[in-house]
């Protein structure tokens, strides 16, 4: 906080011109280079100017008032003179008053001594009084009338009574008149002048109620409320009662200042979000299609948070097992879905109770941890449901106690209680004064720490908004119904979203699974044809693919490390080799994101034995831009090579890659890279989902700090990790690596029949036959006698 205050003080000194020239210059340079600072300085400057303009406008209006008041006095004096009265008074008036320039002295005296009837009319200003409007309202209904000027009168049922105290039965006639400006005040003699200081009038109005021509009295328990439209709210305004004499003199008296009167404020100006919510959202951007925060995004995110109530008590329909918590020594519940899809989840389960079964479990058993499938687990209800806030913030409640700055001030304390019942106290009793509601909240909280906060609020002795009874009745009538509607809508939206998410996830995963299968076939073929090209026979037991059991000499070329220079940050990068003479390509084994190796004991590195030179190819992508580098390297040399990729136009890149590729699809660099691009796209999709899920979890934890079962979020690795080295050409993105267990591989033996056809005998499918051939192989028998 201190930093922020000093920062603002610095800006204030700049905009007030209090900085020295040097300091100001240095600050201006800082502003030039910083858009956010520039915006901030501009904003504070505008506020400063805006404040000054308002003060000037007020000074002008005060001067106008003084002018009109003085003018009115002169008018009255003129009327007095023309209307007759004491001769002495008139003579004095003639001597001291400034006469209208056009009146000659002779004409003036003639008028004074004229014998015509010059009696003063009872109320000579009457004809200039503002015109009234008339309305008829029923006595048994709450009604609001609006005048042609926008004046609103709220008349609750029972607002008027007959002079004898009895109930009004017939329609009530309302007469309403309001001044249209200074001229009405002056000419109608409505101005205020019984105060030492000049007063500025926002509105002078006349209000009367009759029943069949008979005057009615106001019921003090349920008075009508008049709303006066104004361009700006002026401080210090008071309500005066007025009494008009027979001669049209106004006496304004009994000003009352509404102490602790609450002023409703439009909901759009009130912040009902938990503390820090907006900042958290800001830090989590971009989110889906949003790159900036907006009221709509903040509200949408907040209202979409779940306390878990709609899933019912417990953890929904998923089954769980106890696993070890990644961050603590305690146990956490891990869902069946996560165990199926996530390697990290499986590890945690293996470390805890490897033999346990998945079962539906209650949230009280243990906190839940979730991985990708954040929607499969949920918490029990705790904290203040966002739908309550959503229901409160409707336009129709905008004049109630709930739409005030004072209530806004109490919300952080209400959130901290994590108890909806505290909020419900305020919602269900909006007819009471705010201090009474604060006291009720304190009593409900009893000995809890937060009780003292509400007691302090209660000491402020704040009351209510005008006509609170109308709005409390409206709230009582509509709130529960609206809340249920919002909860239902939220539940429906959530289910629709989950369904759509699961559908799109399933679709994407199916697609990537299919691609991986295809890629696996392509790389398998690539390895086989490469081996044929080399003419080597290699022992293959222990591979994930099925291959020929053959023997051959061992060869250990020295290691060759290839790294891609990181002068630019690539989205993804790869390294391949090509042996054009043999029309084969291969993928270098990946050590990490930008380092690759041709390992000495890996079969994939054969070309280094069987060729004099190889082409080393480095490729990187930034969006759609391709960066490429190809170098020729002697096959028998080891060491460390760094490739600095160069941006290459797509057409040219494809040409180069094609020239380095073999004839078949398996040895096409373009095909290989197309697969890598798809895998990268899928990785980005998963990364985005993870990020969005992480934000939602973070917002949940912020909004419901007391929830015992609030989600922990484990962000499994989204950056590329080195695969198992024996994968060789089958190297895929790490994420898919963890799900590649979906691909079935079988251990087996390739048998070549007399007719030349190949048969694969797998251990799983034909265990007896597999055992027989395996024993034969072990004993060195590679040919069937029969």
């Amino acid at each position: 906080m201190r930093d922020e205050l000093e920062h603002i003080a610095r800006i204030d000194r700049y905009i007030s011109g209090e900085m020295s020239n040097e300091e100001a210059e240095s600050f201006e340079q800082e502003i030039e280079g910083n858009d956010a600072l520039k915006e901030e300085v501009d904003f504070y400057d505008k506020i400063r100017e805006g404040i000054s303009r308002q003060v000037i406008k007020l000074d002008i209006k005060k001067a106008q008032y003084r002018f009109v008041k003085a003018r009115k006095k002169a008018v009255r004096l003129r009327r007095l003179i023309y209307g007759g009265g004491s001769l002495l008074l008139m003579v004095v008036a003639v001597l001291v008053t400034t006469l209208p320039g056009e009146e000659s002295e002779e004409k003036f005296i003639h008028q004074i001594f004229d014998k015509e009837d010059t009696e003063v009319e009872e109320d000579s200003f009457k004809q200039y009084l503002p015109e009234s409007e008339f309305f008829e309202v029923p006595p048994d209904k709450d009604t609001t009338i609006t005048s042609s000027d926008g004046l609103k009168v709220h008349i609750p049922k029972g607002a008027f009574i007959r002079p004898n105290g009895k109930r009004v039965k017939d329609p009530i006639n309302i007469e309403l008149a309001a001044d249209q400006g200074m001229d009405d005040l002056v000419l109608g003699n409505l101005g205020v002048d019984n105060s030492a200081d000049p007063l500025e009038s926002a509105q002078v109005l006349y209000f009367n109620a009759t029943e069949n021509g008979q005057a009615l009295a106001i019921n003090d328990a349920l008075p009508p409320y008049i709303e006066v439209p104004t361009d700006s709210v002026k401080p210090g305004m008071q309500v005066y009662n007025g009494k008009r004499s027979k001669t049209g003199e106004m006496d304004w008296y009994a000003p009352r200042l509404p102490d602790n009167f609450l002023k409703p404020v439009a909901f759009k100006y009130l912040d009902f979000l938990p503390k820090g919510f907006e900042k958290k959202v800001q830090a989590g951007l971009p989110y889906k299609n949003h790159s900036t925060t907006s009221r709509e995004l903040l509200d949408s995110l907040f209202y979409s948070l779940a306390t878990g109530a709609e899933f019912g008590p417990g953890l929904g329909s998923s089954k769980f097992r106890l696993g070890k918590s990644p961050n603590a020594s305690e146990q956490m519940l891990i869902s069946e879905a996560d165990a199926r899809n996530n390697e990290a989840a499986r590890r945690l389960l293996a470390e805890a109770e490897p033999d346990a079964q998945f079962e539906p479990m209650d949230s009280t058993e243990a906190p839940a941890v979730t991985f990708d499938n954040i929607l499969t687990s949920s918490t029990g209800p705790c904290g203040v449901a966002p739908q309550l806030i959503q229901t409160i913030r409707q336009d129709k409640f905008e004049r109630s106690l709930l739409a005030t700055r004072e209530f806004e001030e109490r919300l952080p304390a209400i959130y901290k209680t994590c108890d909806e019942k505290v909020l419900n106290l305020y919602v269900e009793h909006t007819e009471k004064n705010l201090w009474e509601l604060d006291a009720m909240a304190a009593d409900y909280l009893g000995k809890k720490e937060q009780a003292s906060v509400f007691r302090n609020f209660s000491r402020q002795k704040l009351t209510n908004v005008p006509n609170s009874h109308i709005y409390s009745a409206l709230i009582a009538k509509d709130f529960e119904k609206d809340l249920k509607a919002f909860e239902k809508e939220h539940s429906k939206k959530r289910k629709t979203y989950e369904k759509a998410l699961q559908k799109s996830t399933k679709k994407a995963e199916k697609k990537i699974e299919q691609l991986a299968k295809e890629y696996y076939k392509v790389t398998t073929k690539r390895v086989k044809t490469r081996m044929k090209a080399y003419g080597f026979k290699v022992k293959t037991m222990g591979w994930k693919n099925i291959a020929r059991v053959i023997e051959g000499p061992s060869y250990t070329p020295p290691p060759l490390k290839v790294s891609i220079a990181q002068n630019v940050k690539f989205d993804h990068q790869h390294a391949y080799f090509s042996v054009p003479g043999l029309n084969v390509i291969g993928q270098l084994n990946r050590v990490n994101a930008n380092q690759f190796m041709m390992n000495e004991h890996r079969i994939m590195n054969l070309p280094r034995h069987n060729a004099d030179e190889i082409q080393l190819i480095g490729i990187g992508y930034i969006g759609k831009d391709i960066y490429l580098k190809v170098i020729t390297h002697p096959a028998d040399q080891s060491g460390e090579i760094s490739l600095t990729l160069e941006k290459t136009e797509e057409g040219k890149a494809r040409q180069i890659l094609k020239s380095l590729s073999g004839k078949s699809k398996a040895h096409s660099l373009i095909t290989a890279l197309d697969y890598q691009k798809e895998f990268y796209k899928d990785q980005q999709r998963r990364k985005k989902l993870r990020k969005e899920a992480a934000l939602i979890v973070a917002l949940n934890r912020l909004a419901f700090p007391c929830c015992q079962n609030s989600h922990e979020y484990i962000d499994t690795a989204v950056d590329f990790e080195a695969p198992e080295l024996e994968s060789g050409d089958n190297a895929l993105w790490t994420e898919y690596e963890t799900t590649s267990s979906k691909l079935k591989t079988k251990k087996g033996i390739e048998v070549i029949l007399p007719n030349g056809k190949k048969k694969y005998i797998t251990e799983e499918d034909e265990p007896a036959l597999y055992k027989k051939y395996y024993e034969m192989f072990k004993n060195g028998e590679t040919e069937l006698k029969k």
Binding site: S16, I47, G50, S52, R53, I60, A63, R405
Partner: protein
């Protein structure tokens, strides 16, 4: 008080006496408005706007009055009335625009319109900021009172409390401004 003195006082922020003196020109202006078919109450608004222009200009260092203040105010009011006529088509103007249009006056009035538009949002923000905030900001930015004085006058515990309250008020104003979009 001479015209030059009036301008000087206005530029320093001393408004009461100069404005009281300037209002003596109002009847002439009201007569001009009524003569051209306008309402008497319009004259009040038009004159207020003209005074606003005069005070804003008086605060700029480069302002030099080439005629009397009365003539200046009269020109500004006449142009404002003409502008209103263009929008309302309810007033009668027989003079050609160039006859009474003074380049400086038109520029000054254009400046007022620009500023009114620019500050429309600021005015709404200030109206909804709450009285506590407006009091602090008015005393600090317009009347240039020290934090000590503000704390004493408004009953705050100490200077730091006022600073913190002022910060919160400005933050609230910024949030409201975000709701409107840019206030550029």
């Amino acid at each position: 008080m001479t015209d030059a003195t009036i301008i000087e006082e206005l530029s320093k922020g001393n408004h009461k006496e100069p404005l009281d003196l300037l209002y003596k020109y109002f009847p002439t202006i009201q007569k001009m408005v009524v003569t051209h078919g306008g309402k008497e109450e319009d004259a009040y608004d038009i004159f207020q706007d003209a005074l606003m222009v005069l005070i804003e200009k008086a605060k700029t260092e480069s302002f030099e009055l080439t005629s009397s203040i009365k003539t200046y105010l009269y020109s500004v009011c006449k142009y404002k009335l003409y502008d209103k006529n263009r929008k309302d088509r309810s007033l009668s103007f027989t003079e050609n625009v160039p006859d009474f249009l003074d380049d400086d006056t038109e520029e000054d009035l254009g400046l007022l319109q620009e500023m009114e538009k620019k500050f429309e949002i600021v005015d709404e923000i200030l109206a909804n900021l709450g009285q506590k905030c407006v009091d602090i900001l008015k005393r600090f930015y317009h009347f240039k009172e020290s934090m000590d004085t503000i704390a004493n006058e408004l009953g705050y515990a100490n200077v730091n409390t006022v600073k913190t309250q002022k910060y919160k008020c400005l933050e609230r104003a910024r949030k409201m401004a975000t709701g409107f979009g840019s206030i550029e």
